[in-house]
Symmetry: C2
Subunit: 193 residues, 2 copies
Amino acid sequence: MSPAARRTRKLIVDAGIAVLAERTSATLAEIADAADVSRSTLHRHFTDRNDLLAAIDAECRVRFDRAASAARLGEGGALDAMDRLAQEYLGMGLVLGLVFADNAPVDPDGWDRGDEGDGLTATIASGQRDGDVDPELSAEWVETTFWTLLFSAWLSLQGGTSRRDVAFQLSRTLRKAFGHSASGGEAGPGAGK
Amino acid sequence: MSPAARRTRKLIVDAGIAVLAERTSATLAEIADAADVSRSTLHRHFTDRNDLLAAIDAECRVRFDRAASAARLGEGGALDAMDRLAQEYLGMGLVLGLVFADNAPVDPDGWDRGDEGDGLTATIASGQRDGDVDPELSAEWVETTFWTLLFSAWLSLQGGTSRRDVAFQLSRTLRKAFGHSASGGEAGPGAGK
DNA sequence: CAATAATGACACATGAATGTCGCAAAATAA
DNA sequence: TTATTTTGCGACATTCATGTGTCATTATTG
């Protein structure tokens, strides 16, 4: 694939993420438009809608993986790790919208169980072993709720709340909800980056 | 309107709620089918899609209002009240799916501020005045997160977790996340119904 | 039972989104 | 500059949801 083609392809995928994040039912024409590309060009790079969706899913996956790496889930307490991960995810902005949509073009459930054994799931499990994460809550519940809290944060961002405020409240809520012993206290946004 | 017509109309609205809860892009034909009614009949009762959506929105509103009344938000502590409300909402099942969909046919935001001054918003406000609800969290955040926690619970239900387990975890998480002082402890599902 | 209302099964028109093609213009690479 | 690639434009066929209307059949009501 030539560099020019590669560039255009990326342009389309990025536009797709941006547009679909706000409306999953968005038209291919809208996406092409957002990418400053004609619809025929879009079809030249992606045979059909599913093809584009798959590419978007793949791109999101690498972004999420990158964020997960930056969160260094293995280091420190599990609660701190989850907090860092949440903050990293929050920084991804638009992409989050794709995860929650009802026809979700992006499906993190299919990712976590994968190559490396150190995903969110593993972090929660270890946190519950260490007594760091509330053992009365099922691991599935914690994982699901981790995502929906992120959804809360995303909604707040969309609603105009400042990034700083959202980050603080997400962090605090996360720690209080999932923490076990006396970990619900002060909730500075983790050990920083 | 004749009783027969009224009955059919209700049949369609109910089917619409059930079907749209799972896929907001569902076809009118699918809805008619789910209602055991021909598509022409559906169109006879609702001129267009928006008309049906409006009826569904209205129906959901009364159901939510009914649930809110059952929760007796004015009685007892705010946290207990929110817990009761969450449990009532959870019992509504399918309807919840409509609230979170991206093209949300149902919009609770437009309801709360209304006739009576005692909605979720008011409960949160009073809870924060009384020191019952964490004052470090903004009221907007608490309200948004209340809904997304409900979303968590709904997802868990869809995923096959028992109603009982979901109710328990929702209650516990809600209380821990929103509670202020030492209210994160035992989390029996409120003072019952 | 008889009159009226409601329904189901079609047929039809319309608009929107999708996917495909061919050709000319433009950008890129050598 | 020249050759190749990529893109834009427009036309076209297709599919699908929608909305409208008709007519025979069924159910409901009085």
